[in-house]
Structures are given as C-alpha cells and as structure tokens.
Symmetry: C2
Subunit: 197 residues, 2 copies
C-alpha cells in the first residue's frame, strides 16, 4: 500500500503517519474478520466494518474501494489450521487430525470461511487462490497421513471423504460430528485400507 | 399473499388482477432462482432481480420487503434431487446415487443452493428449515441404501462421508470427483461395511 506523504512534513512525521495508517489497516482488517466470522460475508459491508473498527466509512473505502479486496485482505489474516502431529499410527492419526479439523471448523469458525469461499469464489476469481490456500492447508496433514497407505483415486476419495464429512456435518448437517461419529469415520477409512492388503 | 382489490372493480376484474399478480410473482421468483444459481446470493438484490424479471423494483419490494423472504420463496421453487432408484446391490446403488447427486450438484447447481444455505442459515433462522429440507432430500436415498447394513454412529458417519465427499469436492475442491474417485468412494464404504461382518 502506498501512502501519500503530506508535503512539508519531516521524514519522522512521515514515518509516524505511515505507522498510523498501517495500524488503521490492521484494525479495519481485524474488524472485517470479526464481522465475517460472527455474521457472515453478507454483513461485511464498508459501513458495518467501519462501525466495528470505529473509523469512518471513507477510510475503509479509501483503502478498499471494492468489498472483494477487503475480503481478500481479511482472509489473509485468518490463521492456518492447528493440525495434529502424526505419530505413525494410522487410526490414532486420523482421529487426531479429524478432531483438530473439527476444532478449526467449530471453534475458529473455519466453517464460515469455507462457506463464504464456496459461495463466492466462482463469481469472484480473486478469491480462487484464497480458497485453494485454505483447502490445501486443511488437507495437508490428512494427505501426509494417507500417503504411505493409499494412492491415486483411492487417496483422493479418502481425503474428500474425511474432510468432506467434517465440513458437510458442520456447515449443512447443523452440528459437528460427535466423537462416536468421528471415530466411525476413521474406522471406515482404516477398514477400507486394510481390505487393500 | 393478499392483494388489495381496487375499489369499484367487478369480481371478474378482481380475479384477473389476482391472476396477473400471481404470474408476476412466478416470473420474479424464477428470475431470483436464475440470478442465485448463476451469480450467487450476493447478487440476489431487489434491483438485479427486477431487471432480470423485467419488472419494477417497487414490485419486487412490495411482495418481498426483505431479501431473505425473496430467497426463501425462491428456494421453494428449486426442485428436489432426481435420485437413483435402488436395485438392492449395495455397490451399484451407492455408485448410482453418488452419480445422481453429482449431477444435481453440478448440472442443477445444487452446489450453489447448499453454499448459500451453509453461509446464510446461521444468521438467518428463516432459512434453517430450508436447509433442513435440502439436506434431508439430498440424503434420503443414501440413507435408505445404507439402512440394512449400517446403524447408529456408523450410519451417520457413512452418510456424511458419501454426501460430504461430493459436496466438498464440487464446492471447495474446485472440481466434481471423476468416475474413478466416485467409484473409490463407493468401494471404501463397501469394504468398511464388509469388515463389519
């Protein structure tokens, strides 16, 4: 971002202005994330974000003339999933990673991020790279766990079944899967892989 | 919907007005569905729907003061999934139903309907019943296929894995699963169920 330095100010004043502008950007983006995660993309309007950030609408419009740019920059501030650290036991690793993913979906509201990206990234190509980043990060560990035991179409099928079951239950089923269902998902994948042998 | 009958008109004129109003509602709702499926919920504004329906914005506002009501009535016009008719062969039935569901997601844009409902129905309780209707219809046949072979948490896990894998791949993976992945999904469920025995 380029900030115009007001004429006649010293370098120190300029640096101070820049720092203030950066701080404002930070506050606006973190407010945009809050509005998004609490109320959904529909509510991420310039007016509502300005209100949440306690700044003027003009400030928000100046930095992000389009809502999609505000959304893209806000998504860049949403952290990655805290994954399970695989220990080399297939079932335990699947259960651990499914639980970590459930926590990310439910407690860190990754479900909202994914719902917005599913809904908007077809019409807004600017968001496709954002969607790909979240999906790649969400699948990273489950792909690593399955790497030694499944390949090709079976590998793809299992990644989609594992992460798909979680996202689907939280976003459309109305409730995250309980531990019994989560265990049954891991068991099904383990049983299917054992039948390979 | 109540339509005010203009004073002094005959019963016949009144009926004619009602028919015209009903026709207008039909056209507006089918235009709202078109805008939704082609461009997403963000674009389902009174102005855009009026333009698509070639009527005035006032007409749209009169019938549906709130966007959420327009959306709810538009969703009521979206048809149910054309399901596979089970033949009693577990693998063939799963593959048949996964293909039918993929067609609904991709060709009839059920993916868009579900993405909007995932994103909006938490903030808009009016949409929860709509979401439940689509999820129940989407799962109806897969639940029937699995009924004789899985129960409890395993049944729930498999429904979420099957439908979840499809929705997830189409909406977030960026592409519907190919036939090889779709077959591998069915195979995994069949193998897991066989290990029950």
């Amino acid at each position: 971002m380029v900030t115009a330095k007001p004429p006649g100010t010293s370098a120190t004043d300029g640096a101070r202005v820049d720092a203030r502008v950066l701080r404002t950007r930070e506050v606006v983006l973190s407010s945009a994330v809050d509005v998004l995660l609490e109320h959904g993309w529909d509510q991420v309007t310039h007016a509502r974000v300005a209100r949440a950030a306690r700044c003027s609408k003009v400030t928000v419009y100046t930095h992000w003339p389009e809502r999609v740019d505000l959304l893209r920059d806000a998504f860049a501030r949403v952290g990655d999933v805290v994954h399970h650290e695989p220990i080399g036991d297939l079932r335990a690793d699947l259960v651990g990673e499914l639980r970590a993913f459930r926590t990310a979906l439910v407690e860190h509201r990754l479900d909202r991020v994914l719902a917005v990206l599913a809904d908007r990234s077809e019409a807004l190509p600017e968001l496709r790279a954002v969607r790909e980043r979240f999906v790649a990060d969400g699948e990273r560990v489950v792909r690593r766990i399955l790497e030694p035991v499944a390949a090709g179409a079976q590998h793809e099928a299992m990644v989609a079944m594992l992460n798909g079951a979680m996202v689907y239950s939280v976003s459309l089923g109305g409730a995250p899967p309980g531990d019994d269902v989560l265990d049954a998902i891991a068991d099904a994948v383990v049983a299917a892989l054992e039948s390979n042998a």
